[in-house]
């Protein structure tokens, strides 16, 4: 089963849930898909065994073959190509790497070259296989790096994916084709506003989901009311604890310091499995 951990609002506790869930299970793989700000490695402290570079193909013009006809500029949907005085200017930061310009150039004057946009690192910690991606600083587009991380999914294992926050393309890329989404929220107006958006996302993608209310004693009960109205299962409530906040701040997992939590995370997994199976039957 592939479980993704997401939230509309940032800082609600996605990484804490993903890391500790992974550490509580066996035969498990943890993928950190928050490639803009990956944090799981801080808590997992994995030994990295290999590293790959993520590229996107961007066009390169052979000026000898190019006659400046402007077809490439016409077909580019991203304004990444401008033809000025029969000279082709390429703005690679706008390029999505679709390949259209190369295909349609009537003079075969465009080749593709790889542009590095990030890296993927693969490692492990005890029994847990760990993969994360890092978007290079200054690069705009994280989805290709997220896709590169997800290529390592091993379906024979339980896969836990830590997603970036938000509701747009990076989140979609991370949670797409997963079997269940755990939505982590906090019971504040900000948390609820962003949870409602996140629920719309998972519904649009048709993925079963459940909610974890973190720092459940700081805020109001509107999140409970919303989940009840919308028939969204609440998987767990975690009260604010200075002890857990302290562990987090130092980059320690809950499981290592407070082993009694292992069972709670295993229960969480069982709940997720049960809800997922029920939704499949339906």
């Amino acid at each position: 089963m592939i479980i993704s951990v997401a939230s509309g609002k940032g800082g609600t506790g996605k990484t804490t849930i993903a890391v500790n869930l992974a550490l509580s299970l066996s035969n498990v793989q943890l993928l950190d898909c928050d490639v803009e700000e990956p944090n799981c490695h801080i808590f997992i402290k994995p030994v990295f065994e290999s590293k790959n570079t993520v590229f996107i193909p961007v066009p390169k013009v052979d000026t000898k073959k190019c006659d400046g006809c402007g077809r490439c500029q016409e077909v580019c949907a991203y304004n990444a190509i401008a033809v000025v005085n029969k000279k082709v200017l390429i703005f690679s930061e706008l390029c999505h790497g679709c390949g259209s310009c190369t295909y349609f150039c009537p003079h075969n004057a465009i080749e593709e070259e790889n542009k590095e946009i990030g890296i993927v690192e693969i490692g492990k910690k005890d029994g847990t296989q760990f993969v994360h991606g890092k978007l290079n600083v200054g690069m705009m587009m994280s989805p290709p790096v997220i896709r590169a991380v997800k290529k390592y999914i091993d379906k024979k294992k339980t896969v836990i994916i830590d997603s970036p926050p938000g509701t747009s393309c990076p989140v979609i890329t991370a949670i797409k084709d997963t079997d269940f989404v755990i939505l982590v929220t906090e019971p504040t107006p900000f948390g609820l506003n962003d949870l409602v958006l996140a629920v719309e996302v998972v519904r649009k993608l048709g993925i079963p989901s459940g909610v974890i209310i973190n720092r459940s004693d700081l805020g109001n009960n509107k999140t409970d009311e919303y989940c009840a109205e919308e028939n969204i299962p609440i998987l767990a409530r975690i009260p604010f604890s200075k002890e857990i906040a302290g562990l987090y701040s130092k980059g320690n997992s809950i499981i290592d310091a407070l082993p009694e939590y292992r069972e709670k995370f295993q229960d969480l997994y069982k709940k997720v499995e049960q809800i997922k199976n029920e939704s499949v039957k339906r």
């Binding site: 609600t12 700000e37 200075k242 130092k250």
Partner: protein
Amino acid sequence: MKQIVIISGKGGTGKTVITGAFAALAKNKVMADCDVDAADLHLILDPKIKNSHIFRSGVIAFTHKELCEGCGTCRTVCRFEAIGEDFTIDPISCEGCAFCSLACPQNAIEMKTNTSGKWFVSDTRFGPLVHARLGIAEENSGKLVSLVRQKAKEIAEEKKCSWVIIDGSPGIGCPVIASITGVDCAVIVIEPTLSGLHDAGRVVDVAGFFNVPVKIIINKFDLNPDMAKIIEQWSDSKNIQVLGKIIFDKAVVQSVVEGKTIIEYTDNQVTRTLRDIWMLLEKELDKKI
């Protein structure tokens, strides 16, 4: 007129609460909520929408099945795995490159304009707010951020405002880049955790990449005073000014629940620190002229 943006790298460090406080403290300003993915500033500013606009951005491919002969060219050329075996296009995966549409020998694929959000100009008790809502699962948040900023800047120029105060989004990707380029100062809110420091480091690098001056606020510093100290030393080593350190106080959550900025909600150590921070920031940015 000066533009400041509040960002953090890591989510949930207190950007919106601090933006709200600045909105209450600054004189003669326009606010812009550039966290278009998950906008929250409106929850404490209570905007009265004056006008609302549709954000159209990009196009999405649509297969006219009656024209399709099933040759499969579209599937061959698409690099975004957006075209299914029955040649139906998944609008979520489609990045709107139009390659399939141009390559289709039957002209069976139409590129349709995509409505991907809304943006609003509103009045609040602190002045105008420009905000937006990106459609669920949509792309182009960077473009919508640029649009919100542009509009806020226009209003600020027209009304001869002193400040544009921008609430940014987490991360370091396209919406963040769109929200920081060309501002006078990016205020980075860091919580005293290893993750907070790690993420702030990356966002500081992004700001450096685009030549944006940065300053730091350490929020909830007493949750780990040792880590707060490490962050201060790190800031010193990078020659970045720490504007102030704010303590953790449950009153902050309560102010949000009440739909108020912390400045209006109470007078405590948090609000005193925030007032000092704002005065310092004003002074520092004045120096620059």
